[in-house]
Amino acid sequence: MLVTIAGRHVNVNEEGFLTEFDDWDETIAAALASDIGIALTEEHLAVVRFVRDDYQAQSTSPTLRRIRTTGGFDTKRLFVLFPKKPAKKIAYVSGVPKPIGCV
């Protein structure tokens, strides 16, 4: 469905995840983060940028383990930045689908 986020028309699925990779920008990321109670900082954005690059390279959203082993981000810190469900929340803010990997 077409919705307005941060003054722009973008496509989202029934859960609210962006469906078009190129609809995303950092202003939209800040709005998505604020939806779920996160005030986006440069530290959040570093993770988000990695996830977007990795999604583009792999055509699949990275799991938490991949964000750690390939992106070099500390797991404990990810749970602080994106509490409780970090992998899903990171995907949401990054404008990529929910990760489907088991580990």
Partner: protein, 166 residues
Amino acid sequence: MTTSRPVPTFDDDIADRKLCIICSKGSLDMAYPGLILANAALGEGIETHLFFTFWGFEIINKKTMGNLQFTAVGNPATHMPAALAGLPGMQAMATRMMRKQIASLDVPPVPEFLRLITDAGGHLWACRMSFDMMKLSEDDLFDGVEGVIGATEFMEISAGAQTLFV
């Protein structure tokens, strides 16, 4: 222009969910189900406890955790003829093959997996009776193990939780 757009409710549905997994087996193939489920639960914001008992100690014993074995003996699901499965060298070969398959799926080896779980906030507990029976000291255990506890303490920890026995 006003829009009402869907926003995921990430936290609402998991308010008090808690999972306890009893890990009682020490073979390579039986170590992973508990670890994978624990990791998935933690990623969903679920409070997660792992209780290692009897052969499950192989998973948290620093001497064995990196060298768990897999055997086709007594396991008809491998479809290997029983007379072959027990030949010398077969266990090492089967273990090597399984390790390779696990790594190819980007699933970490046991010690790294335990670290991933504790970093994600998971709790590891060792069974008091198995600990005494195997004459271990706390230095023998993976350093992420929070404590050596008895079955009664486990009952307290697991109050209100969903419990799985692996």
